[in-house]
């Protein structure tokens, strides 16, 4: 663990974005622009079954009729969707038989990011799917997982090997026309991870996907689908970084989770996409993501934990549809904005089944001239007898130029329910830090203590290594902003 800590602080020295490098690999990139032919070409490139092409075309037709959402509390110039390339993959000779065939530059990139993929160095207790621009380049521990019937592979591979599973679940949680970016993703998504946990199986290790955008004018549209069958459990981690460019890159992902009876998925994200220049706000990722889970089965549970520390603009609401009776959904979030970042993030908890429970713990930290909004919806249907929700949304302001906003929406159609909402705003001030310093505690430790105190209800949900890294990341990002 201490190695991990060191590597994080070493790389983040001088508060620079540590992942800002690009990798020089030969890429096979589509010409910019989007039309039906591009959608067909992506599908063809991936040799997809027909249902998939139809899914894409339907989504594309839908997307053309839609407009970008205007309701989020974020501001940016209009995106020219014809000025983006919708496919980029590192060039390779043929289908990869083993990791040895991955471009060594790509392997080194992931190693630099702290995600060694080769057999000798790979992380022992975490299975990793590494996605580089539009494609998955390596997946570790596949065989070991397969021994228990667990499928963990790029979704492009799942479309070849398990098309019926993908067809059964894809788009059942986030329909093709759900929203503007989900429709776009459904039309042009290129890769992402697929996980299937068979009945009565507890995944023996954490499963994770690591996303890396490398090419400057490529959008990343990944698609993740996780299915947890009856009485099963999986903990899934997701990490993201991108190089430093003066232009903005679009990342429009869709993640769908499905739990059947008594199953549980715990999904954790540490998002650290490049946020743009701290002073000028130039560049950075537009992170427009749709994440939603469906507790289809009784007594099932979906828990989202996110630590959002990067991206120029974040628009993201990991949600739960609580369909099965007695199912429960959780959302734990820390969203940090600094520099010129804008975040509009939160969750939706849709209670359909009886005795469904949800809890929302959101911690927003805003520094510099950034803007941080929590937007959350709790919707309780007429059959959701005895449903309960507890929401707590706290904001912390650093300095006096940042802003925090809270937009809770509560709708209940059943009188037996119980909904609680709490909100508070606090400040990390120069006086607080001086108080620590006057007791001999360093500024860095002081910030860490205040931030981890503020975020403790969320951090304790993260796997240990992630929690340590997340805490360090927040501290280093804030060091310059306080005072």
């Amino acid at each position: 663990m201490s190695d991990e800590q060191n590597s994080v602080s070493d790389l983040l020295e001088d508060n620079q974005y540590k992942y800002g490098f690009t990798t020089d690999v030969e890429s096979d990139t589509f010409a910019k622009g989007l039309n039906e032919d591009v959608v067909r070409a992506i599908s063809k490139k991936k040799n997809e079954p027909e249902f998939m092409l139809n899914f894409r075309l339907k989504a594309f037709e839908k997307w053309k009729t839609m407009t970008e959402p205007a309701w989020p509390n974020v501001h940016y110039p209009p995106i020219d969707f014809q000025d983006i390339s919708y496919y980029s993959e590192p060039k390779k000779k043929k289908v990869l038989e083993s990791l040895d065939e991955v471009d060594p530059e790509v392997m080194r990139t992931f190693e630099k990011l702290g995600i060694p993929l080769d057999e000798q160095k790979k992380l022992a207790n975490v299975a990793v799917d590494a996605v580089f621009d539009s494609v998955s380049v390596a997946t570790t521990h596949k065989k070991k997982l397969m021994e228990q019937g667990i499928i963990f592979c790029p979704i492009s591979e799942a479309l070849q090997d398990y098309p019926e599973l993908v067809e059964e679940y894809l788009g059942t949680v986030v329909p093709v026309g759900d929203n503007y970016y989900a429709a776009l993703n459904s039309a042009v998504f290129t890769d992402g991870s697929f996980v299937y946990i068979p009945p009565d199986t507890i995944s023996p290790m954490e499963i994770s996907t690591y996303f890396r955008i490398n090419t400057e004018e490529t959008g990343q549209f990944e698609r993740t689908l996780i299915i947890c069958a009856e009485n099963s459990y999986v903990s899934y981690l997701e990490g993201c970084t991108a190089p430093q460019f003066d232009t903005n890159q679009l990342h429009a992902a869709v993640v769908e989770l499905v739990t059947l009876d008594n199953a549980e998925i715990k999904y954790s994200t540490v998002q650290n996409w490049y946020a743009g220049d701290k002073e000028t706000g130039k560049g950075g990722i537009y992170n427009f993501v749709t994440k939603r889970g469906k507790c289809a089965g009784e007594n099932s549970k979906i828990s989202w934990t996110q630590v959002e520390t990067g991206s120029a603009i974040t628009w993201k609401y990991p949600s739960c549809i609580l369909q099965g009776d007695n199912s429960s959904g959780e959302f734990y979030s820390v969203a940090l904005t600094n520099g010129h970042m804008q975040a509009d993030t939160g969750t939706k908890m849709i209670h359909i089944g009886k005795n469904t429970r949800s809890s929302i713990i959101s911690k927003g930290i805003s520094a510099d001239v950034s803007s941080n909004s929590y937007r959350g919806q709790v919707k309780i249907g007429k059959n959701a007898t005895n449903a309960r929700n507890y929401s707590q949304c706290d904001s912390m302001l650093v300095g006096d130029k940042s802003s925090a906003h809270t937009f809770p929406y509560i709708e209940t159609a059943n009188s037996s329910v119980q909904v609680e909402h709490e909100a508070a705003t606090s400040k990390i001030s120069e006086d607080q830090l001086f108080y620590f310093e006057s007791r001999g505690i360093s500024r860095e430790n002081a910030i860490e203590a205040v931030i981890s105190g503020f975020c403790k209800d969320v951090f304790k949900q993260l796997p240990m290594e992630f929690a340590v890294e997340a805490q360090k990341l927040l501290t280093l990002k804030l060091e310059d902003s306080v005072g």
Partner: protein
């Protein structure tokens, strides 16, 4: 132990302390009194190393070290303690954990091993017992929602844990009712020894009924206008500050 030589200091370019010299030895208690705006608070801020306050000339030597060249963290580790007039609230940070961080910062400086939470709890319990403090001070967050009196007691608890050589108590009596004042003063008295020194900064002499000073200094318009023993404080009490501040 502490030698202040012709100190000039202020905030935002305004000079407030205009030439203070003061010498404090081990085992002594000095009271610095004066009306509002006399420079008491600025002197305290300068001694504690508050970044907004600037010494423009003069020297402060503490244990042979130039205090003005040290930041607040270094001063604390060197053995200077500031008891704040308005201790800040830090929600989310457990009081006991905060105290352990401060304690361990000293351990690290001394090249010793850090104390784990269990061992620290023993030390903390012992100090709290000595000061007659309730268990809640361990469980609550740092000054979060504390009353004025509780905050001041918590400052004394910190002083007990950190065992400073020189403690500066800035208006520790303000906002305290008579019972709280007595408890806080008793705590301070228990922490006094031949090896440490104490500076009490106060507007009123009532604190000095409980903590007996060896020397009393009266500050007016940024200068020490009169020094004496405990009797001086009593005189101030009966005659008011005009008596000394207009004398010269």
């Amino acid at each position: 132990m502490l030698e202040i030589k012709d100190l000039h200091a202020g905030v935002d370019g305004t000079e407030i302390v205009k030439g203070i010299s003061l010498s404090i030895n081990k085992g002594e208690v000095h009271a610095i009194m004066g009306p509002n705006g006399s420079g008491k608070s600025t002197l305290a801020k300068i001694l504690s190393g508050h970044p907004a306050y600037e010494a423009t000339s003069g020297e402060i030597i503490f244990d042979g070290q130039n205090l003005l060249e040290m930041d607040a963290e270094e001063r604390s580790l060197a053995g200077v303690f500031m008891g704040f007039q308005y201790p800040v609230e830090v929600p989310g940070v457990n009081n006991a954990e905060f105290l352990r961080m401060a304690h361990n910062a000293r351990k690290v400086k001394a090249g010793e091993e850090e104390v784990d939470p269990l061992d620290f709890d023993e030390l903390l319990s012992e100090k709290m017992k000595m000061l007659g403090m309730e268990k809640k001070y361990k469980e609550r967050n740092l000054n979060d929602g504390f009353s004025g009196g509780e905050k001041k007691k918590n400052e004394i608890l910190q002083m007990a844990i950190l065992e400073p050589k020189l403690s500066l108590l800035d208006e520790t009596d303000s906002g305290l009712d008579i019972d709280a004042l007595r408890i806080v003063s008793e705590g301070v008295n228990k922490l006094r020894s031949e090896n440490n020194a104490l500076i009490l900064i106060t507007h009123y002499q009532r604190l000095l009924d409980y903590i007996k000073p060896d020397f009393v200094h009266v500050l007016s318009q940024g200068k020490i206008v009169k020094s004496g023993d405990k009797a001086l404080a009593l005189e101030l009490e009966s005659q008011g500050y005009d008596w000394v501040t207009t004398a010269d």
